[in-house]
């Protein structure tokens, strides 16, 4: 999964939207008859607007992405889209973003996400500071981040694939979805680690000797029910949003859905095995 995702990000690249590159985004909806996408495409190519992409939005609408439009070009496009009065095209949304703002938004988003990741490592290391045996606490933090990266990379890969074939774009809402997944994934991993911590303490109190591997296994067993249930309920809400919600949040719901599933997977099959691996690895070196 991880490899496919990274591969598709590398090969297809991301379809970065106007939010981050600057440019114009025009959404129109048709009343009554809707023209063919191919027909619109061929008409638009006559306008010499440079690179543009057209995407169907719902049954009656289209989203057009172009370079930054002047007022004249916008009027021109609208009349083109209505085929000289043959169809009723109404402008629903127009977003024009200058390149500097796009760049700033992108940098801000990156910085915010990076700072959040660093803070999480620090916090997890701090909370688990009393549990330094057999795996030191900062490693919990690092593993949390590894599984978090997994949860973020997988949906990004999905978007890269969808971007290639369906024209899905990386826009501001996509960043929102990633942030949400981030919070979710950390929560998921922490719940499992928390149980590990508790079992370790229990063992110590009872003076019971148990392999670290067994302790982790037991903890997993005790928490996977919760992990699955929580992910399932969230998935339910997201599915409802995806199928019945507005067009605007459909992509958001889809990305979140992928992230939540990846999160449930990684907290069970990635984070804990990593914890054990780190431990055995250290043991072997001794």
């Amino acid at each position: 999964m991880l490899l496919i995702s990274i591969g598709s990000i590398a090969i297809f690249g991301l379809n970065v939207g106007v939010d981050f590159t600057g440019g114009s985004l025009l959404e129109v909806s048709y009343e009554g008859n809707v023209p063919d996408k191919a027909a619109i495409d061929s008409r638009l190519s006559g306008l010499s607007l440079g690179n543009l992409s057209l995407r169907q939005a719902g049954e009656k609408g289209f989203i057009l992405r172009t370079k930054t439009l002047t007022e004249e070009e916008r009027v021109n496009i609208l009349s083109t889209l209505s085929f000289g009065g043959q169809y009723q095209a109404t402008q629903e949304r127009l977003t024009t973003i200058g390149p500097t703002i796009g760049q700033e938004l992108r940098n801000k988003a990156l910085v915010a996400i990076s700072v959040v990741i660093v803070m999480i490592v620090l916090y997890v290391a701090f909370v688990f500071r009393k549990v330094s045996e057999p795996v030191s606490s900062w490693k919990y933090g690092v593993i949390t981040i590894v599984s978090l990266l997994h949860d973020v990379v997988v949906p990004v890969g999905v978007v890269a694939i969808l971007g290639q074939f369906l024209g899905m774009q990386v826009d501001a809402l996509f960043i929102m979805a990633l942030l949400a997944i981030l919070g979710y994934s950390v929560n998921d991993t922490i719940v499992v680690f928390d149980r590990v911590r508790e079992n370790l303490r229990l063992n110590r109190d009872l003076n019971r000797k148990e392999d670290f591997e067994l302790t982790v296994g037991k903890s997993l067993e005790q928490t996977y029910g919760r992990s699955i249930n929580t992910s399932f309920t969230t998935a339910l809400a997201l599915l409802a949003l995806f199928f019945l919600g507005p067009q605007a949040t459909q992509d958001f719901a889809l990305i979140m859905l992928v992230g939540v599933i990846a999160g449930a997977y990684s907290s069970i099959f990635l984070a804990s095995p990593l914890l054990v691996t780190i431990n055995t690895w250290r043991g072997n070196r001794k």
């Binding site: 909806s29 919070g183 409802a240």
Partner: protein, 437 residues
């Protein structure tokens, strides 16, 4: 007892949320962001290159005030005008002006509205019927007639301090020099109307109403409008530079049709409610009696959150709602954690109350750690993020905070209120979960 109180309070809050939405003139409507309500969002780049570093801030302030006055004049409901510095991370130093106009979906109209220069007009006072209403107040609009002389004819404006006429004060005066055309027009007006009042209007508001003493043929007019020095300076600047204290350039627009916004909102609410119902159904089927408790406490949680959105008020945007939905997920998660722990204690043969009590205290650590990292993330995002991310961070952070309280206070009180039962088959069937009977 406490449980009943909480339940009543919850119903009360829910009722408030409902009622305040029903009454059209209530102060506590949800305030919807532009992406949901429709409207225009404009970003201007302010060219401050001609200003010294120290003047930038005050000029931006003046710019903001001027634009705000202009927008208000147009009668847009609750516009937002704010200045913003480009962030450190973009690598460039820019001053920006953000204008949000709810309900204005015609971008050109909005741009024209903001780009226009201040309108200076000279109007003649005329006595006629209907310009004084019943209370004896003067109806200013009706009592002045345009003369055709406007700020367009002003060649140069200067600021002077001094006194006009017999006054001794050292008040600021704005001296206008008309161009050739304006000089002729002004001479004609003053020649024909000696003794009349000439009203001087700025952006539609009367700022000065001097009486014409004698014909003025040299093309200068002096406005003494009881100005504060700053106001006079601004007026002079506006008249000289055509428009604003700082030249601005449009660098970003976003317009969302009301239809699109309204539809998005409706569908979003519908999807959200259905999602919640599905979650509630699952909780009750899987966790049975505790599931019912969780659903009730989630209901109260929702009511509290919506009330907070109204009272602060939090402007709801698509991103904000995404954050809210996520926080609901977190709230459900807290309950699930607790019930799973409780189930384990029940398996050990404990009584229900004891199992609940241990379940809560054991789950608390997980809930605390999970939610603290979430709140931490929310704070950082709020700090660093652009306006979009801020909306998300705010509702998410608030949601997690309230959900934590709802899980440990509301759910807990209800669970204890259910009473204490022996660990029998029936009890296990009621309090257990999943396939455990």
């Amino acid at each position: 007892m406490a449980a009943i109180l909480i339940l009543l309070a919850g119903i009360g809050v829910g009722y408030f949320v409902y009622v305040s939405q029903e009454y059209p003139d209530s102060r506590f409507h949800f305030s919807l962001g532009l992406d949901l309500a429709g409207g225009s969002h404009l970003v201007y780049l302010a060219d401050t290159s001609g200003l010294s570093q120290g003047d930038v801030e005050s000029s931006m302030q003046a710019l903001r005030d001027t634009i705000e006055r202009r927008v208000n004049l147009f009668g847009v409901g609750e516009p937002i005008v704010q200045t913003e510095k480009s962030s450190f991370f973009s690598g460039i130093d820019e001053e920006r002006l953000i204008v949000e106009l709810p309900g204005v979906t015609d971008t050109n109209e909005a741009i024209r509205l903001i780009g226009q220069t201040p309108v200076l007009e000279f109007k003649l006072f005329v006595t006629k019927q209907g310009n004084v209403d019943e209370e004896g107040t003067l109806n200013i609009d009706a009592s002045y007639e345009p003369t055709g002389l406007t700020g367009r004819f002003v060649e140069r404006a200067t600021l002077q301090f001094g006194s006009q006429g017999s006054g001794l004060s050292n008040e600021p005066l704005v001296v206008l020099n008309f161009n050739k055309e304006g000089t002729d027009l002004f001479a004609k007006i003053t020649r024909e109307h000696v003794g009349d009042v000439v009203g001087i209007f700025l952006d539609g508001a009367l700022i000065s109403a001097p009486v014409v003493q004698e014909p003025i043929t040299d093309g200068t007019a002096v406005i003494s409008g009881n100005f504060k020095p700053d106001e006079a300076r601004e007026l002079v600047r506006n008249l000289n530079y055509g428009a604003l204290p700082v030249p601005i350039k449009l660098i970003g627009t976003e317009t969302i049709g009301a239809a699109l916004g309204g539809e998005a909102l409706q569908k979003g609410i519908f999807g959200g409610i259905l999602g919640l119902l599905l979650v509630a159904l699952f909780m009750i089927v899987w966790y049975r009696l505790p599931g019912v408790v969780a659903v009730v406490s989630l209901g109260i949680y929702l009511a509290v959150m919506l009330a907070i959105f109204k009272l602060i008020p939090v402007t709801l945007t698509a991103a904000g709602i995404a954050g809210f939905i996520l926080s609901i997920g977190m709230a459900v998660d807290a309950n699930v954690l607790i019930f799973e722990r409780m189930k384990e204690e029940l398996k050990d043969g404990k009584k229900t109350k004891e199992a609940a009590s241990i379940g809560f205290s054991r789950a608390w650590l997980s809930i605390r750690d999970g939610n603290f990292t979430s709140i931490l993330s929310a704070i950082i995002l709020f700090w660093f993020g652009s306006s979009l991310i801020e909306g998300f961070a705010l509702t998410f952070g608030l949601g997690v905070l309230v959900s934590m309280l709802s899980a440990i206070i509301i759910s807990r009180t209800f669970m204890f209120a259910l009473g204490n039962y022996q660990n029998r088959r029936l009890t296990r069937a009621l309090f257990g979960s999943g396939t455990y009977f």
